[in-house]
């Protein structure tokens, strides 16, 4: 059964993640759009608690130039 975009499980809740690390760029990239914006949780299914933690991690990574603030589409 394919799940539509409004019906997804939160991967962080499933694994009971305690801390989303800003250094884990590959993980953070999954929750960013192609223009490196943070993807809203109604697309990704992330729970509110984790979406907030995710946002903090992404912003930290951006400050340390691990992730871009903006990326222009080509």
């Amino acid at each position: 059964m394919a799940k539509n975009k409004y019906n997804k499980d939160c991967p962080f809740t499933e694994e009971q993640v305690k801390y989303i690390d800003y250094k884990d760029i590959n993980l953070l990239r999954k929750y960013m759009s192609q223009y490196s914006k943070i993807v809203p949780r109604y697309y990704t299914g992330v729970n509110l608690k984790y979406q907030k933690a995710l946002a903090v991690a992404i912003k930290r990574a951006r400050n340390m130039a691990l992730l871009p603030f903006v990326r222009r589409g080509r």
Binding site: K23, R62, A65, P68
Partner: protein
Amino acid sequence: MTEEHVREDANKYELMVIINPDIGVDAIKKRLDETRKLLTAEKGGVAGEIFFEDVWGTRDLAYKIKKHDKGYYAVFDFVTDPSMIREMETALGLETEVIRHMIVRLPGAYQSLNYAALLEKQAIEEEEKKALKLAAKNKRPLRPGEKPEAVRVPAKTEKVAEKTVEKESAKSEEKVEAKDEVKEEVKEKPKKKETTLEDVDAKLKSIIDNPDINF
């Protein structure tokens, strides 16, 4: 308050610094030593303590900072008195060789991560996923002959397990040997079955040869 008491109460912090890579190897080493000194500085008879250190080395910045497009990254996990953090921040901020720095408070249960090991682990996990996907793909066209599928799936998971073991063993010096081993195994399997397996092998090799993944 005794020293021990303070240590238990003290918070864990993580410092990430980006050092100007153009200043030369010696200067970078000096800078790292100085940051270590800064983090372990004493105050009121209690010294900070670095319990984990991870030097990433030079890597590309996601965007230019002060006209630099590369930076030398280093991560320090340390325990210190909270009152020290502000002093560290100002000291680092004044340092021209440090392009950027960030001190973050770590949760109590945090386990320090080696960045290279993390990348390696993720590469392996991706391989697993790809293998599973391929297995799923192969299942559909082969529905009439059910037996080969049942054999195939466990074979692949075993393969991945072998790989992980080898990669762990290969961490330091046996890198080259391990590569050969992987390739040998890889060669044995595609002979049995289709082109899709060869695709997996190509991906595997590209990941093993990937310069971004340091053992």
